[in-house]
């Protein structure tokens, strides 16, 4: 952390001293480059970190610039008007970002759709500016308005300090506990939602913050250059920003900042003498980077990897304060004639049952019986077509997954669902975000987990691999990690979809032990889908049998073994 401050101080000193060493022309160019770099930084936060490819940050830059230019041309300049225009810039940008965010991010939206909306925003903003007549200056833009009476050297220092500060804050943020949630969003948004995080709200918040960064940059641009034009808000500028970030190295913050300054500065020389060729070269470099060097040119040249793993401090593990056992009289899972259909095809029909704390219920049935669909209905209110579901007495209505998790639900998916580029410790930390608001500027040095999660880690030796990126884990370790993440949520109801699929016999025994322990010692209610009937027999306290979307049997393990019906179903499925 102290290294960050040292570098930041050096950069600050450099931009403050810069005007003493540089000629007017270079100063002029660099002011603009600094401001563009700040916008590129905001694109990198959105795209490189949170995985939202946006073509629309230019719109916020334009909004900030026009807020300043319009205020100054209407009322003249005074420090108060300056402040007013800054407030207007931030307010307008934040409002626009809220609208864009509302359109782009909701449960079920796709990354492609969000990118589509980011394309629409600058197009609409530019069109509004064009049709604004004399008020916005239409295509000519606005010029010759009063500006703060600063010398060009002062603007250089203001723009430089702004850029260094924003970059420093961003670097500190992305290295903090809160910052790594962005990477979690990028790696696996669905997992985040099932860890109880309101991903839409987080993405919208991030968009608003980055919109404000871009708006301040635009506001400074209007003040320092004395001119604004619609192209500043346009979609072409938005794509240029993406190109700069890609070339500089997405997901590195410093890469896009340095890349933008370098490219914009070079453009000022190169585009004068070879305008078409320069654009052609940039286009070719861009494609090469996208296809062959996704980490970008600067990291490729300097040989630095996207994020240095060695820097990661591995937190110490500690046991969280145990929570009281769930009230045994409270119905943990309640289903009342739940159904799910696609058109005329009925996947589930009239499913009703209850489960209580401490029960370990296995859901069995042949392929296509609707087991996974039932799991989905239990954790996402929008999934079912009819009937009522309550978790710990809370009706889930049509609530999205993160709200269901809020009622005490945890869900483990069939295929291991973790955050590939995060380490084991980081994955677990993300699972704790719902319960403890993470720090925005530092990394915690201890990671508190419930005893059950610690037990899972110890039993599978994951506690020896806390710094390992999740994608390097074995299949069984990934399964165990996901289970530990789910348990770290401190749920009282856990849904597990084939937790033993693809595991070795030994791993299977370990998991079995962990599950029975969760039910018996910790009083959780577990519902698991399982094909391995031996495993079911060993651990279940109760078995629910589904067949062709209907509940055909609900009883003890003995009931099921004795059931002629179940034998027919499995035999029929085996032959049919």
């Amino acid at each position: 952390m102290s290294r960050v401050f040292l570098v930041a101080l050096l950069c600050l000193a450099a931009v403050l001293a810069g005007p003493l060493l540089l000629d007017t022309y270079t100063i002029n160019i660099l002011i603009r480059s600094f401001l563009f770099a700040a916008v590129a930084l905001s694109v990198d936060l959105l795209w490189g970190y949170s995985g939202f490819l946006t073509f629309g940050q230019s719109a916020f830059f334009g909004v900030g610039a026009y807020a300043a230019a319009l205020c100054f041309s209407q009322f003249g300049y005074s420090p108060w008007i300056g402040l007013l225009s800054l407030v207007a810039a931030l307010g307008a940008a934040a409002l626009l970002a809220l609208v864009q965010g509302w359109l782009s991010f909701y449960h079920g939206s796709t990354p492609l759709y969000a990118s589509v909306v980011s394309l629409v925003v600058p197009v609409v903003v530019t069109q509004i500016l064009f049709s604004g007549g004399i008020f916005t200056g239409s295509s000519s833009g606005l010029t010759a308005y009063d500006t703060p009476d600063f010398e060009i050297e002062d603007w250089f220092r203001i723009a430089g300090v702004f850029m260094v500060l924003v970059t420093t804050v961003a670097v500190i943020f992305v290295r903090s506990d809160a910052g790594r949630v962005l990477v979690a969003l990028r790696d696996n948004e669905a997992r985040c939602a099932y860890l109880g995080l309101n991903t839409a709200r987080q993405r919208i918040l991030l968009l608003v913050v980055t919109a404000c960064i871009a708006a301040i940059a635009g506001w400074l641009y209007a003040g320092s250059s004395g001119v604004v034009a619609p192209e500043l808000a346009g979609f072409v500028f938005g794509t240029e920003l993406v190109i700069w970030v890609a070339l500089g190295g997405r997901g590195t913050l410093l890469g896009p900042v340095l890349g933008t300054i370098l490219i914009d500065f070079t453009s000022s020389y190169a585009s004068g003498s070879l305008p078409f060729l320069w654009k052609l070269l940039l286009g070719i470099a861009f494609i090469l980077v996208i296809v062959a060097l996704p980490q970008g040119l600067i990291p490729a040249v300097t040989g630095r990897l996207r994020r240095k793993r060695a820097e990661n401090v591995v937190p110490g593990l500690a046991a969280a304060k145990p929570r009281p056992r769930p009230d045994p009289d409270q119905v943990a899972i309640y289903l009342d004639s739940v159904s799910r259909s696609f058109g005329s095809l009925k996947i589930l029909e009239a499913i009703s049952f209850k489960a209580r704390p401490g029960e370990l219920v296995s859901l069995v049935g042949p392929n296509g019986a609707g087991k996974t669909t039932l799991m989905r209905c239990l954790s996402d209110g929008a999934e079912r077509s009819g009937g009522r579901i309550a978790i710990n007495g809370h009706d889930i209505g049509t609530l999205p997954p993160y709200r269901c998790v809020g009622f005490g639900l945890g869900r483990k998916f069939q295929t291991a669902n973790v955050f590939d580029t995060l380490s084991v410790a980081e994955c677990l930390a993300v699972a704790r975000v719902r319960l403890h608001l993470p720090s925005f500027w530092r990394r915690a040095d201890t990671l508190e987990l419930p005893q059950a999660a610690l037990d899972i880690l110890r039993a599978t030796s994951l506690d020896q691999a806390l710094a390992t990126p999740a994608m390097l884990l074995s299949h069984g370790q990934k399964q165990a990690l996901e289970l530990a993440m789910v348990v770290a949520l401190e749920p009282s109801v856990v849904l597990l979809d084939e937790p033993t699929a693809g595991l070795t016999q030994q791993e299977r025994r370990q998991i079995g032990g962990v599950l029975t322990d969760l039910a018996i010692t910790h009083g959780l209610c577990l519902l698991l889908v399982e094909h391995d009937l031996d495993f079911v027999r060993e651990i279940s306290s109760r078995v629910v049998v589904l067949h062709q979307g209907r509940l055909v049997l609900d009883g003890t393990v003995q009931d099921v073994i004795a059931s002629e019906l179940v034998r027919t179903i499995y035999a029929g499925a085996a032959h049919g």
Partner: protein, 383 residues
Amino acid sequence: MSAFRQLLALSSAMMLAAPAYAADPITIGIPVGLSGSNSVVAPSVVQAAQLAVDEINTKGGVLGRKLALEIADDASGAIGAQRAFDSLLFQKKVDVLISMETSAARNAGLPAVNKSKTPYIYTSFYEGKSCSPNMFVDAWVPAQQVPPIVDQFMTANKAKTFFMIGSDYSFGRGMLSFTKEYIEKKGGKVVGDEYLPMDGTDWTPIISKLRASGADALITSTAGGAPNVTLTKQLRAAGVTIPYGNLAVDEGTAKGMGADATGIYISASYVTGIDSPENKAFLAAMAAKFGADLKTPNDLSVPEYEAVYLYKAAVEKAGSLDKAKILAQLGRVSFKGPRGVVTMDKQHHASLTMYLGQVQADGSVKVAKSFPNVDPGAQCPKL
């Protein structure tokens, strides 16, 4: 990394090379849209400036010093123009700027011009009312271009009702709002005015409205290039035959449009067919200098040529390269060029002879009428 250094080395070598061959010349900066929307016309502008500089240099230069050109691409837009102006004013330290540009580019460059107090002659027709103590304009504004066409339609064609179509940008809106005022002042009526976004090319709904309006005449002012051409084509395809005045078309474009352009009225301060010794000499000199590479001189390139001479006259009258003294003279000196006598004495703008032309079937423009010394009106009352 090393590629970037090479580029830097290359560009700094070019910077050093420029002043090395000509001992202390007077440098004229030309920020112009070599790329972007203006790149169609930019080469003709550069050629006109090159001819003027050559002619002046062979006759001994200005105050005994040669003239030299510094050309910078402004990419036809605001961001590029800032770069180009910064480079010319603060890096190349030119003595004067003479250029034809988009309004956005001109506006983007003006703060830098005012900061360095360098004379700037703007040589493009535009929507008017752009004012700076450092800027002079030797091309037309709406008050000079619109009346000939409207008068023609109202008198010769007996038009009472007009329909106007434009692109949604400063020039389009500025031209048509002036046109509307002028028509209403003359007792005509505007029955509709419609705009399309600047890059829009599908005029169908507007043309349907035009046909439904039953207007006697049509006046258009679109963005140059594609919007202008598509509008004309679609008008003809829809069978529109009422008198059609196009405020944004030049001779070259009209020729390229072929049969669709036949009958269009245009109004300009320069057409190649002007019958004067100055114009004939100019055309001959251009043809001799550029041969097969010649870009047809036009209403945007000829003012550039004349502006170089106007600057020469101002420097000689000021007797020095002192920028303030030159600025004081720029509004007083005259030059007789292909367009006739030009003096930028009307609030930094110039009275001009305007020509009303009609496109013929073979693509040539026949001058129907000329209007000598049309006044630009009050463009910058504060100057």
